[in-house]
Assembly symmetry: C2
Homo-oligomer: 297 residues x 2
């Protein structure tokens, strides 16, 4: 499958440095590069690439996340005052960044955004309510017992989400959520819950949302999605039959599309023509449709 957006970061995470306070402190000097953010949004240099600054560009008391090494230089990002929740489609400036940034920059930005957003939304301890502080270069927060906390350690979260192409008689099941732009359809998707496998989550979600039973769930590819921090797990499954029973609290519509319709929608991406509006190129759903078209070519 072709590369997915937000994957392929060129940053070396250098995890051995995170746990070495002295090494980390030694990197925080005038040579350190700091990813310049406006809240959670990227800033751009004169070439439209990610803008980087130095530690002089952030507040002296800013919490800093160590992103890793890039070209031998230590890279950091500062935790903003507030995080964000809500999906990417509701954030026009984030979408603009997705359009504008080159793949390497997009991967760097996405990874950094997930991390600093998590910190901004986790300044307190879920176990005792006390204040937490950044630890291990930003790969942990600690409810420090020496300052009266309970000692709990908290880690950035990554939420696994299944997203699946469901096939029956050469057609694909795609759905539209009420919040989607007009004419847009995409692959069904849902969070993996505690106590189930990826394959079980796929089958459960497709049945919940469309009333369709599936077999032969196959893993295709994953994508990190930084709104706020999802691991999109792309799968394919065969439907037992094509009768749809819609869960209207989740989906406004779900339809079976032929190969020709999917191919047309992809070919006419961005126009108002075509049988439906395909998911945007940055979404793994788009990559999965390309994969399916190539597979069935």
């Amino acid at each position: 499958m072709r590369p997915v957006a937000f994957a392929g970061s060129p940053i070396d995470r250098a995890d051995q440095i995170r746990v070495d306070d002295a090494a980390l402190a030694g990197l925080m000097d005038w040579r350190a590069r700091v990813l310049l953010l406006d809240g959670l949004l990227p800033q751009y240099d004169e070439n439209g690439a990610l803008a980087w600054g130095t530690l002089a560009d952030v507040a002296p008391d800013a919490e800093l996340v160590f992103l890793g090494l890039l070209g031998g230089k230590a890279c950091f990002a500062a935790v903003p005052d507030a995080g964000a929740s809500g999906p990417a489609y509701a954030m026009p400036q984030a979408w603009a960044a997705i359009q504008q940034l080159a793949p390497d920059d997009l991967a760097i930005y996405g990874g950094a955004r997930s991390l600093v957003d998590w910190h901004a939304r986790h300044r307190f301890c879920a176990r005792c309510g006390g204040k937490t502080r950044l630890a291990k270069g930003g790969w942990q927060r600690t409810c420090a017992s020496e300052s009266g906390g309970c000692g709990a350690e908290h880690f950035p979260r990554t939420d696994p989400v299944t997203i699946m192409l469901v096939e029956h008689s050469g057609r694909l099941l795609l759905g539209r959520q009420p919040r989607f732009p007009p004419r847009s359809f995409s692959a069904l998707a849902g969070f993996v819950e505690p106590g189930e496998t990826i394959e079980e989550a796929v089958a459960r979600e497709v049945f919940e949302e469309a009333g369709v039973r599936v077999r032969d769930v196959q893993y295709i590819a994953t994508q990190p999605w930084p709104f706020p921090s999802q691991l999109m797990i792309g799968c394919h499954a065969m439907a037992l039959d094509d009768a749809i029973t819609l869960d209207v609290t989740e989906l406004e519509e779900a339809l079976w599309f032929s190969r020709e319709e999917v191919a047309q929608a992809i070919a006419m991406q961005g126009s108002e023509e075509g049988p439906f509006r395909a998911p945007p190129p940055a979404a793994i759903a788009n990559s999965l449709l390309h994969w399916w078209l190539e597979r069935t070519a």
Copy 2:
């Protein structure tokens, strides 16, 4: 691949009920079944199966999680006073449950344990430090704005972890963590971090822990692992070469084992003989070794 432990729960999660307060309230009567727990540990009936009680068996102010429907009956579990952190190997009574329970019961217990443990460790809001309360049948906690909270919604977490068989010239790379029982070796493993795919996480972890570069990462199977709530993502990868550089903070030893050695270790499971002690049958690492032996048979 043969079924993995903790998967295949017979409970219908009935997610439409979670969001329907009236339906949920209507299920909480004398017919409701409550999974009896001693803290986070299961209780057993006279046949060694999971013991179930009624709402009369839990404190009137207990927070209750709606697990779903089983044989048409609503199933709940109460949130204990305290959660647990730390790995399963350090919990002898939890290990005993794994040995004792039949597959269906083990899946029910695992899913319930992950959920109630999450609630017990998330009584406060990570965003503002306020008290949260259980919502949506236990599939959410809310920092209720009507009682002075910030309104943030929190969801049970599931942490994706890659666990991988790394192969070179017909041999497998297995490692032992310092905490493992004597002579035990298992597949290398590590958390998927924000900003990376499953395949990138596999490659990063193998390089970090053993200094080995891999290619052709292939997804095999997943397992929900309830200590506390991990999604174990089993993979296979080919190593570019077999020179090992050990990260001694993660691993005590890493070795290449031949097909014969792996087969012997699996055949002699539970004995003190064999070239090494294989991971226990309940672990996906064990299933992956079986898969590999069958694949290379």
